[in-house]
């Protein structure tokens, strides 16, 4: 503080101010003073400049705007001496950000300090760049810095550092890099595990890097965080050592007295739990985790952490999937085990919903939302409905939205769904958005069975004394459409329905009145036999509103009155609403829209992660100061992979059937399809429900055009009208499934086919999950298996119809008879509406599924290798056109298809040796050996030798490995044929691939 008296005096002055007003005066005086000094800065000494700049920062910190003097702060950066320079750097980095123009002025000075010789200045400069520098800064410093490609090697080297401080920073860098894209960084995996081992075992950790006896908890957490960005750890030995360390962490943590020590060790523990779950550890370890979670959820200060971990767990398992495919069904496939675990804790989580701490309540709500599935939906939704009446206002809207979505997604039957929504409207009508009641109307309209039920249900609510306006709307709509289905029940004649609805009219706001008028018109039409008394009453109502000041009401009153005089014509105009085109729930879309703002790179691996570069600063209601409901993280687990563009083929075909030429008219009104899409989206399902009275609409109705949203007319008419396009790339999905055992095989707007497989020896069991994504049934479902000659396949019965939003499981037994690379094909077809959809899908029952990983020692390996001395049991080939891979990458690749690399067996470090066991009925368990000799000078070629006790197996396995090396695993089919080595002529067994009698093989070849 020496020599900074002026600053201290100023701070004291401020502290002595009696009130805000006095403080403001003092600040204004000081700012005036500084401004004057800066203006005539000729005589300004560096010391004075420094003092003023500090004062500016202090004033800024007090919350006052400092709109001048940035130039002076920046200019101190180029001062020759350290004290001024330091002030320049610190104040600049607090007052400015990367978007300020002033910062440009500093670029040169900062650059000079970075390339200069003074280490202290370098530190200052780099700190500034790190804290506020944007892209421009980075580029001016070194163009290479911006390009993070090819950092993998350098990154791996950085992890060899022994100093834990440097490692802490390096690990932050790694987390940043892999959170963006983990590919290419697999060489960092073993190093991370080593670092974790060193810390967890407390080996060579200096005292200053332990915190309450725990070796840098932050570095431990960061390291485990980095590991979670990799989808899996392929290398068996790395995986094994990692699990050992994790085991140690899980076992060695307990609750102690010191709160700091507790927090630190639990920070490590919870990160370890997340990692274990992420890695999909063996059952035993998972259940150990669950036991720990159960233990800690009852420790109050840990409750929230437990909820977080469990929440991670729910989403963490979807990593391999693009975010849009995380539909419930997929989740169920992927995380059944995790779900079971969580369900055990459901009662505790429900208790947490009543916790006094809002952080815990919110988290519990998110969690219940995330863990909901068909089996527990009833219980959870009922809990949410109950909680709704006591929840604070800030949470109610979110709660009702979530309850509505869950009810829709997991309804065991649709009548339950209707019950839930009506109850929701009844309990918390103010918090039920229009989307929610639009959606229930859509369901009722599209499902005939539901219509009488819904009508009778809303009729019951109408008897209540006070009902919410939303309930009036939904009841009016449903009774108008389907009230006549109840005509024979007591109290449900058209006249009685009119009476009970009309009672409500004085209580509703004017936007609801047009809806009631439409309902009256419909009631009148449905009255059988015609009811003259009712007609009189309704006409009176219409006449009354003919002169309404509200144009919409006036128009409907006039039009309905005129129409109803036409008798039979009324029938056409007011005919029942057509079914709604299937489209994504606007509720779910709403939720997704929030998520779409999230940073894509973050979503890739951690669906929960939020926009990572900036705060989302959409400011909600500053008046009452409540933070907005935090919707984003909670919903990530549930997504529906349906295109948001609902101008789908169904509406297109309707357009075709429209007799009159409204097309040009619509086109001229609506400039672009995009705009229309937006418009239509925002209308969502309200269009038929509420918009009936728009001028144009009514006249179109008169022309006998079904009441569709106008925009359908501009969908081009053509073959696309009936074509259903798959979502995602089928080949990529197949390739991915060849390397793992569960995932999505096929998806289109109506159906999703998932696969989960188990393999044991030469047997396999594949379960196909056929999920209907829409609210209408899929019919004429057919699944035909075209087996190749080497597989015996038995598919259980596939039902002819998949009910709305239901999932059907079809087990498929597989038996492998002999080695072959041919692929079985599933010929799948179904009908949606009138369109037939069919797809031929390769099934992931491929050669490597019948391999069992096996790691041999050199004593086991070499005698076998030598005994298999040459063709046809041992085949050798030089493979060219190999995708260039580093050795560790190649090791991972082999391990991924269960041909296990045996490290250290080959004395030449450029070579790999691998072993595996193959199972088929003919060969029985058969040992297979392989050797890959790579050329460090040319990574696109290598020599491959494969040996086994069966000549067909040797050939097939060699070809299989070749396919993997040349075109792996996602890429296009490859290109360069392998050239046999002349020295080792091949006695090729006849390739089954050319077997012309094998339909499966032929098809697979075509695909």
């Amino acid at each position: 503080m020496s020599g900074m008296r002026g600053l201290s005096v100023f701070i004291s002055d401020i502290r002595n101010c009696q009130n805000k007003e006095a403080e403001r005066l003092r600040v204004d005086k000081e700012l005036g003073n500084i401004r004057t000094c800066f203006k005539n800065d000729k005589g300004l000494t560096p010391y004075k400049k420094k003092k003023y700049v500090w004062k500016m920062l202090y004033i800024h910190m007090l919350g006052y705007d400092v709109d001048f003097g940035h130039m002076e702060a920046v200019s101190l950066i180029s001062a020759p001496k350290y004290p001024e320079k330091q002030v320049g750097y610190i104040v600049t980095s607090c007052l400015l950000n990367e978007n300020h123009d002033f910062l440009r002025l500093a670029i040169n000075a900062v650059r000079n300090d970075i390339i200069g010789r003074n280490e202290t200045y370098q530190c200052l400069a780099l700190t500034l760049v790190g804290n506020i520098g944007g892209r421009e800064f980075a580029e001016s410093k070194n163009p290479d810095v911006v390009n993070a490609d090819g950092w993998a090697d350098r990154m791996a080297q950085l992890l060899d550092e022994r100093d834990l401080g440097v490692l802490t920073s390096s690990m932050s860098l790694l987390v940043s890099l892999v959170s963006n894209d983990y590919e290419g960084y697999s060489s960092c995996l073993p190093k991370c595990v080593k670092i974790l081992e060193r810390l967890a075992r407390n080996q060579d950790v200096p005292q200053e890097y332990t915190y309450y006896g725990i070796p840098s908890p932050w570095l431990q957490v960061k390291t485990m965080r980095a590991l979670q960005y990799f989808p899996t750890i392929e290398d068996p030995s790395t995986r094994r050592s990692l699990f050992e360390v994790l085991q140690r962490i899980l076992m060695g943590t307990d609750v102690v007295k010191n709160v700091n020590k507790n927090n630190a060790s639990h920070a490590v523990l919870f990160e370890a739990l997340s990692l274990v779950m992420h890695l999909n550890a063996e059952k035993e370890m998972m259940s150990q985790c669950v036991a720990l979670l159960g233990k800690f959820i009852s420790v109050p200060e840990l409750e929230l952490c437990v909820l977080f971990v469990v929440d991670h767990l729910l989403v963490g398992h979807n990593d391999a999937f693009p975010a849009t495919l995380q539909e419930n069904m997929t989740r169920m496939l992927m995380i059944t085990d995790a779900q079971d675990i969580i369900k055990k804790h459901q009662p505790q989580i429900i208790t947490s919903l009543k916790d006094p701490d809002i952080s815990i309540r919110r988290r519990a709500l998110d969690l219940l939302y995330g863990m909901c599935d068909v089996s527990n939906a009833k219980g959870i939704v009922e809990e949410l409905l109950q909680y709704l009446s006591t929840a604070e206002f800030s949470m109610r809207e979110e709660l009702s939205l979530k309850a509505a979505i869950l009810a829709e997604k997991f309804a065991p039957d649709l009548s339950w769904y209707v019950d839930v929504i009506l109850q929701l409207i009844d309990n918390a009508g103010d918090f039920v958005s229009d989307d929610i009641w639009f959606r229930v109307v859509q369901f009722v309209t599209n499902n005939e069975d539901l219509q009488p039920y819904a009508a009778s249900k809303v009729r019951e609510y109408m008897d209540k004394i006070a009902i919410h306006e939303t309930m009036v709307k939904v009841s009016a709509y449903i009774l108008g459409e389907y009230g006549h289905l109840l005509a024979r029940r007591p109290g449900c004649s058209a006249r009685e329905l009119f009476g009970i609805l009309h009672e409500k009219l004085p209580t509703v706001s004017s936007p609801t009145i047009p809806l009631l008028l439409s309902t009256y018109a419909k009631l009148l039409m449905h009255a059988q036999p015609p009811d003259i008394e009712l007609q009189k009453q309704i006409w009176n109502v219409f006449k009354k509103y003919e002169s309404s000041i509200d144009v919409e009401i006036q128009q409907r009153a006039v039009e309905y009155f005129e129409l109803s005089k036409k008798g039979a014509a009324l029938m056409d105009v007011l005919a029942e609403m057509p079914k709604f085109p299937e489209r994504q729930s606007s509720l779910i879309k709403k939720v997704e829209d929030v998520e779409d703002t999230a940073d894509q790179s973050a979503i890739k691996l951690r669906p929960q992660q939020l926009p990572s570069n900036a705060l989302v600063l959409a400011d909600p209601q500053p008046v009452n100061g409540t933070p907005p409901p935090l919707k984003v993280p909670s919903i990530s687990g549930i997504k529906v992979g349906i295109s948001s563009n609902w101008l789908d083929h169904e509406s297109a075909s309707q357009t075709q059937s429209q007799p009159n030429g409204d097309l040009s008219k619509a086109q001229s009104q609506i400039p672009s399809a995009d705009l229309l899409g937006e418009m239509v989206d925002s209308l969502a399902i309200e269009a038929p429900a509420v918009d009936m009275g728009s001028h144009q609409r009514v006249y179109r109705e008169e022309d006998g055009i079904p009441d569709e949203v106008d925009g359908t007319a501009i969908v081009p008419i053509g073959d696309q009208a009936n074509k259903v396009e798959p979502i995602g790339n089928i080949t990529e999905r197949f390739n991915a499934l060849c390397l793992k055992d569960s995932g999505v095989l096929y998806e289109d707007p109506y159906i999703q086919i998932g696969v989960k497989a188990e393999w044991r020896g030469h047997h396999g069991r594949l379960v196909l999950f056929l999920g209907n994504k829409v609210t209408s049934p899929l019919t004429s479902v057919q699944a035909l298996i075209l087996p190749p000659a080497h597989l015996k396949l038995e598919l259980s019965l596939v039902p002819d119809t998949i009910p709305p939003r239901a999932q059907v499981q079809c087990p498929l037994e597989v038996m492998n008879i002999r080695p072959s690379r041919d692929v079985a094909v599933l010929d799948f077809s179904y009908k949606f509406g009138t369109s037939m959809v069919s797809a031929k899908l390769r099934l992931p029952a491929v050669l490597n599924k019948f391999l069992q990983p096996l790691q041999l020692t050199s004593e086991e390996f070499f005698p076998q290798w030598r005994s298999l001395s040459g063709p046809p049991l041992k085949l050798q080939e030089v493979v060219r056109g190999v995708r260039p891979l580093s050795l560790p990458e190649m090791e991972n690749l082999f391990n991924s298809f269960r041909v296990t690399i045996c490290p250290g067996l080959d004395p030449n470090p450029n070579n790999l040796v691998a072993s595996t066991t193959f199972y088929s009925e003919n060969t029985r368990p058969m040992l297979c050996l392989a050797r890959i000799e790579t050329d460090p000078a040319d990574r696109t070629q290598l020599r491959l030798t494969v040996a086994s006790g069966d000549s067909t197996l040797t050939f097939e396995l060699k070809e299989f490995i070749k396919e993997q090396l040349i075109a792996i695993p996602m890429g296009s089919r490859a290109l360069v044929p392998a050239v046999p080595v002349p020295a080792a002529p091949l006695a090729q067994p006849p390739s089954p691939a050319v077997d012309a009698n094998d339909p499966g093989a032929m098809l697979a070849g075509l695909l």
Partner: protein
């Protein structure tokens, strides 16, 4: 790939007293002046009204704030929803220990009159939103080196 999409952990750090006076504010994301003031106001309201029995984590807009109270001072960090909150909670404590060491028995007044030192220490502790050094000794030694240059 663009370096600007790399992830970032700590969005900002605030040191505020019970009355809401800011004693230190460091942002690692570019925010407008008015926005910074709004954030400070909101975070203060959020933490000052919370029951001391409640957790030290509270959701803030689309992120979460990890905070800890020492006498009349609130130390708040804003991080991602998925970040490890206990680790950040102890990160605050480590920072307080460093300050305590540096000022020997730190109190609010030390931080008021030496706010520029606090910024310096923070720069040694956290860089670009990431924890860069966790050794108390290394930071204190570095500070005394720098003081010699002043």
């Amino acid at each position: 790939s663009d370096i600007s999409i790399l992830s970032l952990q700590i969005r900002f750090i605030l040191l505020q007293n019970r009355q809401g006076k800011t004693r230190l504010a460091k942002y690692y994301v570019p925010l407008e002046e008015s926005e910074k003031h709004k954030v400070e106001y909101e975070v203060h309201r959020l933490v000052v009204n919370r029951d001391s029995k409640f957790t030290n984590f509270v959701e803030f807009r689309t992120h979460k704030v990890i905070y800890r109270r020492y006498a009349g001072l609130f130390f708040s960090l804003c991080v991602d929803i998925t970040d490890n909150e206990l680790a950040y909670l102890e990160c605050i404590h480590l920072f307080v220990e460093i300050l305590d060491h540096f000022f020997s028995n730190v109190c609010e007044l030390d931080l008021v009159f030496n706010f520029h030192k606090v910024y310096l220490i923070l720069d040694e502790f956290i860089l670009a939103g990431e924890l860069q050094e966790t050794s108390k000794r290394a930071i204190i030694e570095r500070m005394s080196e720098l003081e010699k240059l002043e």
